[in-house]
């Protein structure tokens, strides 16, 4: 591996290839991360009392039958052997099959992933839609009743249990008004209520970030200059102040999106939204080690790739960051 890395480095030893070098270094760093993730997850699920046979064996299975089943599934081997066998498969890109129903882990994960991405993005969209205007208003009117109302809203969103808000939304918008379907992931209208549920919780944090970031920016000299020049207040706030306040907000949103990739278990449960979150929780409950480990490895990979993409994008855009890579 090291020799391979060095030879690549020689080839790329030119100024304009520095970005590629950086990208490759980041990709290589993924390998130890993935090994660590798989080891930790495999080990933790293994530590939990009971195994998949306790879950899938019928009520009337004899202890001998259960033992036979464990033997057939290779569950009686020592941890390290089972893990090595798993890693052997992983090296070939084989994430294994579910203990519970023998379905391909990779296939099942990717059948759920689009739903999780959709919910994550729609939730983020709702969060921004609510949080940014509220954050700006509360920063501009610091200490006033507008600030207090925004703060109360933020606190409510953060402390209200997701599943409860979800149920309230279903009762009001599906049952009473009949506007949206109460469950499922089919068609455009079905995303609205889950997105509001996820977005409201995220909005609180984004709102607070917007508020503090705006407060920071409005003290800057250039805003005073803009006002002195007679620029209208709206333009000052939304064009000059908010733009400069956006960077921390985007960072927070990025983190939230990363978290959302793991799925929103409660929202998925209430709305019967077939995402990754419930898949993993169900798999943990049935001690389906290949499914749990596989899903978490794929989620880690995905999140790492996303972060890498964002970092690279920043580097291309911001000369200060690019300069740091070349050192």
């Amino acid at each position: 591996m090291i020799r391979y890395y060095k030879s690549i480095m020689i080839i790329l030893n030119r100024e304009r290839d520095l970005m590629i070098r950086y990208t490759i270094r980041r990709l290589l760093m993924l390998i130890p991360i993935l090994i660590a993730v798989s080891l930790v997850v495999y080990f933790i699920v293994d530590l939990a009392p009971g195994d998949v046979v306790d879950v899938i064996a019928p009520d009337d299975a004899s202890p001998e039958d259960k033992e036979l089943l464990r033997e057939m599934m290779g569950l009686n081997d020592p941890f390290i052997i089972r893990y090595a066998r798993y890693m052997q498969g992983l090296m070939r890109g084989d994430l294994g099959k579910s203990y519970v129903n023998n379905r391909d882990v990779f296939e099942v994960y990717f059948s759920r992933l689009p739903n999780t991405l959709l919910l994550a993005l729609a939730g983020a969209f709702v969060a921004v839609l609510i949080a940014v205007p509220l954050g700006v208003v509360s920063a501009m009117h610091r200490g006033s009743w507008k600030d207090a109302i925004s703060m109360i809203f933020g606190l409510l969103g953060l402390s209200m249990p997701n599943f409860w808000l979800g149920l309230l939304l279903i009762i009001f918008f599906s049952l009473k008004l009949g506007l949206f379907p109460s469950y499922g992931s089919e068609g455009w209208s079905s995303i609205v209520l889950p997105a509001i549920t996820v977005g409201t919780a995220q909005a609180a944090l984004v709102m607070r970030t917007t508020r503090s970031s705006m407060l920071e920016v409005v003290r800057q000299d250039y805003l005073r200059t803009a006002r002195a020049k007679g620029v209208p207040e709206r333009t000052v706030i939304y064009k000059h102040a908010l733009r400069n306040a956006l960077i921390p907000i985007v960072t927070v949103m990025g983190t939230q999106l990363g978290v959302a990739l793991g799925g929103a278990v409660f929202t998925e449960t209430v709305f019967a939204w077939p995402g990754v979150g419930r898949l993993v929780v169900d798999a943990i409950n049935s001690r389906d080690i290949p499914m749990v480990t596989g899903c978490l490895i794929l989620t880690t990979m995905l999140a790492s790739f996303l972060i890498l993409l964002v970092d690279i994008a920043y580097a291309f855009i911001d000369p200060r960051i690019k300069a740091r890579y070349t050192k």
Partner: protein
Amino acid sequence: MSKTKKNIVLLLLACLLMSVLSGCAPSSSEQSDVGPSEEPQETAYQKTIVIAPALDFVSTETQVTTSGTSKSVFLMVFNTLVEQDTEKGGLIPSLAESWELVSDDTWEFKLRRGVKFHDGTDFTAEDVKFTIERGKEQGASKAKLESIKRVEIVDDYTVHIIMSKPDVDILYKLTDPNCVILSKNAFETLSEEEAYKIGTGPYTYNRWEQGDYLSLLRFEDYWEGTPKTEEIVIRNIPEAASRLIALQTGEIDICISPPQIDLHYIAEDPNLTLLQIPGANCRYIGINSSKKPFNDIRVRQAIAHSINRKGFVEAVYEGNATVHNNVMHPGNLFYKEIEGYSYDKEKALALLAEAGYPNGFSATIYSSSGTVQKAVATVMQAQMAEIGIDLEVQSLETATFNATVAPGSDYDMCVNGWGGYVVGPDNALRNMFYTGGNNNNFGFSDEYVDKTLDEAVSISDIETRKKLYGELQEYITNQAVFLPIAIEMIDMGVKSDLEGFVPPQGSIQKFKNVYIPIE
């Protein structure tokens, strides 16, 4: 943030959103579409019926899975040799037209002619032999088929099933969805995954989005006639409250296990009907009789006498369960009314004092993390406190719970459920109370019980069997290792105009004939 940077971020977001959305195109958008039929000549039926069970469909492997929802689906996609008549009781022909015991150890089954598998091939004796022999090796069907020695084909439509030991309950065991008849041809020509999808039943697998829904389409060449409903969709709505709302909005037609406290919404709604059926599950308190102080029968009897079953039904089930006093389920043909243990605090205290615990003792009661299980454990804790037994409640998540109270493990008491009566009286008692029985986690071993169970399963005269099982029920109940609390209800909300519903076989639903007529 510079303009270009913002544009790039926006563009990335837009691309991601588009790619995600394109992967989420509506798959069965015309679901629960009740729209008027174009051909008015006959009675029309609602095209699709949507069913939302409490637990998801998890597997197509008929001989491996124990999931109740999956097994309910198997009864729509496949047939068994013999079927249980859950309305009138007894057995009715299915793929086998008739059966009889032709010698001490041989059952002869005459098979139905003209039955087609979903792939168009004919059903024959070969398929029966193949299914049973394969099933003897598979996880879930193994225990049901283990008393069968081998299957002999007499001709294309006659088989002999030769038993290795007497088992008069084999007919009941063959009605279990783990024993549905598979296609030999499919298993020889297709992958296992595909072969498990070929049955003889009224519905065929159409589309399965795991965790979302399973769609079944009717099989036009079904031997009992084409089903009235074109498509049946099994919807996964894990949250009970959401499931009920989906029924109220009309998005689904059958809602299994709505929240118990919300049942009145269904009863009050003119468009809906509330069905309450005594379920298969008997909720009980299990006692580890191999452990001190529970090895003293007087201690167990004291506990049994201090259980107020009515209190449980009120506190835990809001009245939606029936108190139960016997180790056998009332749904079993061999059930006998017995007295059991009455609620008698004085007697309990006297028994405890006699056993040497006048001031009670401390112990731990384990339950799984299910709502009902936890509630039962808490009520038990309160009731035992009255006779001085200090119970600590430990609620464990299901897999951990199963491992903690497995036969041979070192626990004190547990909250558990048992519904194994569906495949005959022997299965119901042998698993639980035979020495070393598969579910005997009470450490219970009794020579009389073992001997009588062996005797009862080898007799085919029903009256003699009834007498033996009656004595056993009385005897085992008195041993107080299995303290029955209540028979739980299966609650279901359905559209009022739903027809063709038959009661479930234990916890396995029989939905193959459901339909909704429309004007």
